[in-house]
Structure formats: structure tokens, C-alpha cells
Symmetry: C2
Subunit: 159 residues, 2 copies
DNA sequence: ATTATTTTGTTGACGAGGAAACAAAATAAT
DNA sequence: ATTATTTTGTTTCCTCGTCAACAAAATAAT
């Protein structure tokens, strides 16, 4: 296995591990809330005028899934929807008071995770940080270009 | 947002993107096979005496899910199960001839992905590779220790 | 201005995966 | 040797997310 594969698979494995662990911790602290719900709350709390489409793009999920998820959160009284006078189509979301509480608990948990992993990052030099960030940036742009190609290809199938 | 968060979220985003893109490509080339099925085939092709439990641990999935997945693959004639004379409990899997074909197609696709992303890695120096690998390694061990703590905690609840 | 296309969100049928209860074999404890 | 515990795999029920069909609003094309 060459180093490229090692890096990719290493990160894949690391990521699966982290998702699994944090999800466990999360559903332990925020009993009654699924991690997907919490992610949704996090996004709505952090962004301005989030709608179904923006949430879906951010999570790489379908609009349908987000539509159902937000409906459920509304039913639970965690978020509420609103519209703008100039647009009768788009529907935005904001946190309710109860939602803000969940949001805060999540933030604390987030800090806990950072605290937990502090030791790992303490060993990382500024240069290493920058090198990793530039790697991520480059790779991400590269994939964006590939995704763009893909969507062009798919469109051309129907021409 | 500090650099720790940037790194984590950057990789998370990069990863979601890559998974989404590769999954699309995969299900395009290997029509009729889901990406989870292909992952399963990949693992069975690469490891010796894989069983339900090993597959589940590797994919961070439940035994139940793998049990169903393998049953389906057997039905499709892609894998077959076998046992060892000294153990009547564990059930192992191997690829059938048809399964080997899928495996090979997957390998080629894998090479295609590497080829596609070659340009990104070409810019990475040996030192950067090693630094990222050691970061992954350190972090992964750290999380293993945390996961271990978690399972100890859960056990102590019932004592 | 009218029509065509695109964007945005919703719904229902379906499949994938998790949780829990279970059975059978293997291992540990006595 | 017998009993208790653990490991391994399966099945049933349920939730979550996808897909496809759809409706309504917004935008583009004519």
C-alpha cells in the first residue's frame, strides 16, 4: 500500500472512529435526540436563513430527507419555519428557545471533544497545521472540479 | 474557528465529498451493486478468513447488518460461506468466480480514483506525508483509548 | 404576455442499517 | 464434569434516508 492510500485509508478509519465515538457520547448526553437532528440544529443555529436545500447540500443528503427531518424538529418544538415577504417559495428555519438550549448543550459537548483531543493537537506544529489545511483545501477544490464534470456528463446523457 | 476545528471540519467535508463522488462513480460502473456491497466484496477479497464479526468491526456496523448483507451477496452468487472443521460456530466467506470479477472491476476503479487524484498528491512532499501519517496514527490511538474508556464505563453501570 | 424551464419543497413506497431478543457453540469458572 | 459466561450469528421490528413523482413558485425564453 503506497502512502497516498495510507493517508486516505488512515483518515477514513480515523473518521469512522471519531464519528462513532462522538455519536455515542452525543446520544448519551442529549438523550432523545439523534445525531442527525443535532447536526441539523447546529447548522440552523450557525447559519443565516438556512433552508431545506442549503441543509441538504451541506450534509450531502437529499431534499426529501431534510424536509422530513425539519418537519420532525418542528413537531418537537425545537425549530420553527419562516418566510420572507419577497419570496413565497423558500422556507427558512430558526431555533426556538428550546432549540437554543439543545444548541448550547451541543456546543459544550463540542468543547468537551476538543478538550479530550487537545493532547493530540498539542504535538502538531504550526507548519504541520498549515500543510494539512492546504492539502485539504487543494484536494477539496480538486473534487469540486470532478463533481462538476460529473454533473455535466449526466446532463449530456439527455441531449 | 481555530485551526484544530478547521482541520477536523476540513477533513470531514473533504471526506463526505469524496465518499459521495466515489459512490456515484462506483454505482455507475458497477450497476446493480450498492457501494456497501462492493466494500464488503473488497474486504472479503483482501482478508483471510473474514467472518461476520470482523466485517462488522471493520465497517463500524452491527453484526445483524452484516449478516443480512452477506446473505444477500450469497443469494446473488458473489460470495460463498465456509467453515473450519475445528469450529462449528464461526462462518467465513470467500469470493466466488463471479465475485472475483466484481473485485477486479473495483480494483480498477480504485486505480482510476488514484489516477484522478494524482495531481493533488504530486504536490505533497515526503515530509508532509509522514507528518500526516503520524498525525493520523496518534489521533487514532488516542481515540482507541477513549473508546476503551467508554466501554469500561458502560460495563460499570451494571455492577 | 405567454410559455417553457428551473428551483424548491413535499409525499409515499421502498431498502438499508440499528436495537433487541434469541439460539447455538465455545470458553471460563467452579 | 457441570454450570455460567462469552462469543458468534440470525431474525424481527422499527427508524432513517433515498428515489421518484409531484405541485407550486420563480426565472428564462420567446
Amino acid at each position: 500500500m503506497n502512502k497516498e492510500e495510507q493517508v486516505i485509508m488512515g483518515f477514513r478509519d480515523l473518521f469512522n472512529k471519531m464519528v462513532w465515538l462522538n455519536k455515542s457520547k452525543m446520544e448519551d448526553s442529549l438523550k432523545g435526540y439523534k445525531s442527525s437532528e443535532v447536526h441539523c440544529i447546529e447548522y440552523i443555529g450557525r447559519n443565516v436563513d438556512p433552508n431545506v436545500t442549503k441543509l441538504a447540500e451541506s450534509f450531502y443528503m437529499t431534499n426529501g430527507a431534510i424536509s422530513k427531518l425539519t418537519k420532525k424538529l418542528i413537531k418537537k418544538g425545537i425549530i420553527e419555519s419562516y418566510q420572507k415577504p419577497e419570496n413565497k417559495k423558500e422556507i427558512y428555519f430558526r431555533l426556538t428557545e428550546q432549540g437554543k438550549i439543545i444548541y448550547e448543550i451541543h456546543e459544550e459537548l463540542h468543547n468537551e471533544f476538543q478538550e479530550r483531543d487537545k493532547a493530540v493537537f498539542a504535538q502538531v506544529t504550526e507548519e504541520q497545521f498549515d500543510s494539512m489545511l492546504s492539502f485539504v483545501e487543494t484536494y477539496s477544490r480538486h473534487l469540486d472540479a470532478e463533481i462538476k464534470k460529473l454533473s455535466v456528463d449526466n446532463k449530456s446523457e439527455f441531449e
